[in-house]
Amino acid sequence: GAGVSQSPSNKVTEKGKDVELRCDPISGHTALYWYRQSLGQGLEFLIYFQGNSAPDKSGLPSDRFSAERTGGSVSTLTIQRTQQEDSAVYLCASSLVAGGSYEQYFGPGTRLTVT
């Protein structure tokens, strides 16, 4: 079946602009995660959604970052007033349910470049 998909694959934006990154999880997966991979650093957790529960936003680096998940499926990560330090690869993952033992399936990522 289809894996996790993300769009766009690449995004170049000017400092100060807003951007939206989209994630389509695997059908039937109730848990969805966003991670960020900055140059020279590991993957950093941003936010996760589990069903209709309140999302865990503990990893969002600032209030310029927000995410929503509509209808328990597609998710959008929004970065307002982008800064150069936001340049990174943003990865989305989904799993059947939330829980450490469940495998997370990753998308190909969106490479964001803020100029």
Binding site: G40, G42, D56, L91, S95, G100, S101, Y102, Q104, Y105
Partner: protein, 109 residues
């Protein structure tokens, strides 16, 4: 706070040589540990998890709670093993993964 440390950014070995990718973690509870791999131009994917105690593509990893380590090992490296390897930890109740910074394994002839 939970943390994962991968001390080597790059590990270069010859084909047929043994491989050990180091991973140490800090976590006060009972962690679940994983190894993820990213081959060139492919997406990140799960390689193995400690609870499964399985061998995948010849790789094994044993959780050592005394040393808080979860090193990845393979007795004989193959060219196709060249990739970026990430060690990750989950607290179990919280689903989010805490990743190390990754180790690039380069297998040369």
């Amino acid at each position: 706070a939970q943390r994962v440390t991968q001390p080597e950014k790059l590990l270069s070995v010859f084909k047929g040589a043994p491989v050990e990718l180091k991973c140490n973690y800090s976590y006060s509870g009972s962690p679940e540990l994983f190894w993820y791999v990213q081959y060139s131009r492919q997406r990140l994917q799960l390689l193995l998890r400690h609870i499964s105690r399985e061998s995948i593509k010849g790789f094994t990893a044993d959780l050592n709670k005394g040393e808080t380590s979860f090193h990845l090992k393979k007795p004989f490296a193959q060219e196709e093993d060249s990739a970026m390897y990430y060690c990750a930890l989950s607290s179990g109740t919280a689903s989010k993964l805490t990743f190390g910074t990754g180790t690039r394994l380069q297998v040369t002839l």
